[in-house]
């Protein structure tokens, strides 16, 4: 289902961007470790009692802020930090839109689609590149946390629990891959593909964030993929969120399959 030549070419084309994103995510989480250790415990407890801070953090990590009492509780914020999201999603959109809609937009799809690589294999190869580069990027958050814990000498941090959170983050990434590939498979313009994918992700963030502030939005919560990603609940319960991960993966697979059907059947107009 993949073309080794196209997979190699795609990995090579996006290697510099991936390295930059991976180093940035890792370095950010290491520094985040130092930052949370630099804040005196009493001071952080005072901040967390402020209603606005409490709601903001609840929106980010999916559970009440009081659960942050465990050492890995504060670290879970790194797994939901806006900067981490921006890097993960920007990398995903750049690769998915550039390697599908971008090929049509540039006119290079004429060269690619005239090679003896079936459209399903083109789509499969780009999907494989997106997963091979994106999933390690998700794990860079955990690796950054591990390095940070080692450097700061923080005790009692259960890295195994944070690994479950990393797996949940990977499931979110799989869903975003499915969405971005489906949109890119349909689009002739890279900019349009990015704009539509961004609008969907933005909607998910807004609904997830606002429902923490405004309970009336709770009935819409299921439409936001972030509803299925709650790091703090994983840390509190210490259990695998199988249901949430399955929901994310199945939704991602459905979006991916829709993109495949569209890509295999569509026209590539002249540019």
């Amino acid at each position: 289902m993949i073309s080794a030549a196209l997979l190699r070419r795609t990995l090579r084309d996006y290697l510099a961007l991936w390295l930059g994103a991976a180093l940035f995510v890792g370095a950010f989480v290491v520094l985040f470790n130092f930052a949370i250790n630099a804040i005196p415990r009493q001071q952080s407890a005072e901040w967390l009692e402020l209603p606005i801070v409490r709601r903001f953090i609840t929106a980010l990590v999916g559970a009440d802020v009081l659960e942050l009492s465990r050492p890995e509780g504060m670290l879970s914020i790194a797994f939901s930090h806006p900067l981490v999201w921006v890097l993960l999603i920007a990398f995903n959109f750049t690769l998915a839109s550039g390697a599908l809609a971008g090929e049509v937009d540039r006119g290079t799809m004429d060269l690619l689609a005239a090679l003896p690589i079936s459209r399903a294999r083109i789509y499969g190869s780009i999907s494989a590149a997106l997963l091979l580069m994106g999933l390690p990027l998700c794990w860079m958050v955990w690796i950054g946390a591990r390095i940070g814990v080692a450097l700061t000498g923080a005790a009692d941090v259960r890295m195994g629990i944070l690994a479950i959170v990393a797996c949940n983050l990977c499931a979110v990434y799989v869903l975003v891959c499915g969405l971005s590939l489906a949109i890119a498979a349909y689009s002739n313009r890279r900019g349009m593909a990015v704009a539509v994918a961004f609008a969907i992700v933005f909607y998910a963030f807004v609904i997830n964030f606002l429902r923490a502030m405004w309970p009336a939005l709770e009935p819409l919560a299921w439409t936001s993929f972030l509803r299925y990603y709650a790091p703090l609940i994983v840390i509190r319960d210490g259990a695998w969120p199988w249901g949430d991960m399955a929901t994310l993966t199945v939704a991602g697979a459905i979006a991916w399959s829709a993109g495949l059907v569209v890509f295999v059947r569509r026209d590539f107009p002249a540019r």
Binding site: A5, R8, D13, T108, D110, L111, L115, D267
Partner: protein, 303 residues
């Protein structure tokens, strides 16, 4: 045997009809010219034949395989050059050809080395630093490198200098001599006349002429200049001759029809001198390109 067999091939873009159901049969080992004004549907037809577009109606069999279900196997044996060649600007020419070679399963490098020498192209520069003509050469190398059974080239001489055009003509003749087939579109009538065995003229999404070059030549206009021993006043022109000017014994006329009939008529009159020009396909093609009542107008399809 036909390498391309299309029946009722049609393509619509919403209300716009780009191809109105064309029948096409391209014989093996031929250099087949595809002519027509801008927007006639040439590019649309070629893009359908390489699987980039899905026909709205009709069917096509390429190299004995049905489109679009076997387009991957077809692409293995087809070399395609798009009309406006676009390549990855961040790659060097060598890396781009290496990618195409790897995607085709390898084995093209001896041919790439030969083509590089023929086209005199520096493959170690980035595509973004290439001129338009160099990009065209690289696109041609990518299309030719795997020695395909069928070449589909959309205006291949665009942006090439006359020397490189000549090299390409030699390559295409060699391709046909090896029993492989070339289908190419062009607006340059001299190159069509020089290269093609067979020509299809398309306009408004319909084929309006499908003929050999020889048959077209026999229908093309020749200019004939006569110097008569007597006044031209009594001269009776045969069918196919149209007088253009007449001064004393000098007559200039245009001739359409078989050359042996012209020679027979010339034998029957008293001549001092005669000059018979070559058949002028330009006029013939220009007539096809012009809008004519009864023929559908160009539908604004891709060129």
């Amino acid at each position: 045997m036909s390498v391309i067999e299309a029946r009722g091939l049609a393509k619509r873009y919403g209300p716009i009809r780009a191809l109105a159901g064309i029948d096409l049969a391209v014989p093996e080992s031929a250099i087949f010219g595809f002519l027509g004004p801008n927007g006639a549907g040439k590019t649309t037809a070629m893009r359908i034949l390489v699987g980039l577009l899905r026909p709205s109606a009709g069917s096509a069999v390429v190299l004995g395989m049905k489109l679009p279900s076997r387009s991957t196997e077809i692409c293995r044996q087809v070399g395609y050059l798009p009309g406006d060649v676009k390549l990855y600007p961040w790659m060097t020419g060598r890396r781009l050809l290496a990618f195409c070679d790897a995607a085709r399963g390898g084995g093209s490098w001896p041919e790439i080395a030969r083509l590089q020498e023929r086209f005199d192209l520096d493959l170690d520069r980035k595509v973004r630093d290439y001129s338009r003509g160099m990009k065209q050469k690289l696109g041609l190398m990518a299309a030719l490198a795997h020695r395909p059974r069928l070449l589909i080239l959309d205006e291949p001489t665009t942006a090439l200098d006359p020397l490189v055009q000549q090299t390409l003509y030699d390559e295409l003749r060699a391709v046909a001599a090896e029993g492989r087939t070339v289908l190419f579109s062009s607006h340059t009538l001299s190159e069509v006349e020089l290269l093609c065995d067979h020509v299809v003229i398309i306009r408004g999404g319909r084929i309006i002429e499908d003929s050999t070059i020889e048959a077209l030549r026999s229908r093309a206009v020749r200019k004939v200049s006569l110097r008569l021993r007597r006044s031209a006043a009594a001269l009776t022109l045969p069918e196919g001759a149209h007088s253009q000017s007449s001064l004393d014994g000098a007559v200039t006329l245009s001739w359409t029809g078989p050359i042996d009939r012209l020679v027979a008529w010339l034998r029957s009159i008293e001549l001092e001198d005669v000059t018979i020009g070559p058949p002028d396909l330009e006029d013939l093609f220009a007539a096809y390109y012009r809008e004519e009542p009864g023929l559908p107008a160009s539908q604004g399809a891709e060129t």
